[in-house]
């Protein structure tokens, strides 16, 4: 094919902006790079700009600023070459309910100009990859949500892409189907395919993605592997919830806890203390000692290693809404 490979990065996004009709800014100054072979997640709430970014990368939307390259090819200047090299799995179940699974794949094979004699083998291969062989000749109307998703993914794999773009791959699926889709995505990674996916599921970002970019309000808030981002928060988290009657003691307690060994930072919100600790062994007894010494009544104590939702909260100032 004579495709040029643009160094170690499958996807490079530089200062990307998209403003609709000169008014609504969906994405502003977004930059990130995805090394070849990674599963990379764009994490953010609905309307954060994830899908806009993805639509620019799959060449169906022109950016109003900045640039993006896939496999070294510019998504605007070399749109057709990019299209030839990528697969796309849309957010909606983009399924024609009157066609069978196989007919979908035959259509896609023709749109990717796969020769008529080579198409059947390719179609069998992707059907097998997503375990849909037994339902291939049934009209999609009769498919379950999970099966439609599998067909979506199969369609995205028809061109044998080196980079696969997936928009909310498990949105609205039941737990079992989600785990299966994750398994498929891991298989794709094992085959050397670079996967860029958008998600507003924290666990999906955490467990599936090698690295994630947190996007909120059209801007990049943080980039890194889930573990890097979590340890970047600086320590584990102890949350104390005081009884509602002890609201007046919160500030004093916070001051007392701040001085204890192993405590790095304390923040308060109403009757809740959010305490960052370096080592729980030293800090926990000291914190609880301070609580007892002041006669505070505890309603709830929680200790956990930082989770991705803590990361999200720390970088965006709010919690992601899972739906």
């Amino acid at each position: 094919m004579g495709l040029t490979v643009g160094g170690p990065f499958a996807i490079e996004v530089e200062h990307l902006s998209k403003t609709y009709e000169g008014k609504v800014t969906a994405v502003e100054d977004v930059s990130f790079q995805v090394p070849t072979g990674e599963v990379f997640g764009l994490l953010g709430p609905n309307g954060a700009g994830k899908t806009t970014t993805l639509r620019v990368l799959i060449t169906v939307l022109r950016p109003t600023g900045g640039s993006a390259r896939v496999l070294g090819m510019d998504v605007v200047e070399q749109a057709n070459e990019v299209r030839q090299a990528i697969g796309y799995v849309p957010q909606e179940r983009a399924i024609d309910r009157f066609l069978t699974g196989r007919e979908h794949l035959q259509l896609l094979a023709s749109l990717y100009h796969i020769p008529k004699d080579k198409a059947p083998a390719r179609i069998e291969a992707v059907l097998k990859l997503v375990n849909l062989e037994h339902k291939a000749d049934e009209v999609a109307r009769n498919y379950s949500g999970g099966m439609k998703r599998k067909l979506d993914i199969a369609c995205g794999l028809i061109p044998d892409p080196r980079v696969l773009f997936m928009d909310e791959p498990t949105l609205g699926l039941d737990v079992e189907s989600r785990l299966k889709i994750w398994e498929h995505i891991r298989q794709l990674k094992a085959r050397g395919i670079t996967v860029l996916l958008t998600t507003n599921y924290l666990d999906e970002a955490d467990q599936l993605c090698d690295r994630i970019t947190i996007i909120d309000g059209g801007r990049v808030k943080a980039i890194g592997s889930p573990n890097e981002l979590k340890s970047g928060l600086g320590g584990d988290i102890v949350t104390l919830t005081l009884a509602a009657g002890d609201l007046d003691k919160v500030e004093a307690l916070a001051q007392a806890v701040k001085g204890q060994a192993g405590v790095k930072a304390v923040s308060t919100k109403q009757n809740v203390l959010d305490i960052r600790v370096a080592s729980p062994e030293a800090a926990l007894p000291a914190i609880l000692g301070a609580v007892t010494a002041r006669g505070c009544r505890l309603e709830f104590v929680d200790y956990h290693r930082p989770r991705l939702d803590d990361v999200f909260l720390a970088h965006t100032g709010r919690r992601i809404k899972e739906e």
Partner: protein
Amino acid sequence: MEQYLQEVGALTMRWVKRLSRERFSMLFTLAQPMVFWLIFFGNLFQKTANTEVTQAPSYIAFLAAGVVVMTILNNGLAGGTDLLFDKENGFLERMMSTPISRTSVIISRFLFVMTITSGQVLVILGVAYLYGVHPVTGFGGVAVIILIGLMFGVGLTAISMALAFSVKSHGDFFSMLSFLSLPMIFLSSALVPLSAMPGWMAVLAQLNPMTWAIDAVRPLILTGWGAALPKIGIVIIIMAVFDSICLYGAAKAFRKTLG
């Protein structure tokens, strides 16, 4: 070129496959209402319609040309519907992310709608034939009728596809279509000749390209080549202008959606 044919062929076959799966709803929604116009409206006004005004042996014979062009109108205006659904469920975006020529989707739709329309024109002429309306110009005349139909249909289908790509919701799409369709029919020579219309309606009807299509189709059915040829000449020019305007306008909507 070979790739282009492969795309357009596969996309057109998709519409054909859909039609074969939705056979009943398609037949009932597209063919039937027009046949009803011919049978019921035609017979209903048989006695009321003055043959000296219509200049036709029977009202059905007069109405046949009108119903043929109404079929073309309705098919054309509905031509973008499937693309509207494709846009809404993401299928269109999936197609646009593949390395196809940006025009393939549009061309496949034109091919499909034009084929269906031609078939339905034949059905209408067949039903009219059963009522004793035999086109005096024979098969050659029928071929010209279809040709006029295709010329009118291209512009209409372009409008419909442009609307499908531009509207915010499919409610808007369908209400705009039904808003367009009835005035187009009443303000044309489909149901009565212009000479029998109130003056202001006749003026508006003359601005309606549908009138010119009907006025060329009608002599092909009723009178003969001699009367039809000048009308055919005029309609070809009018349709060329009509199609150019529609395609020019639609191209903007296409470019905005398809890139």
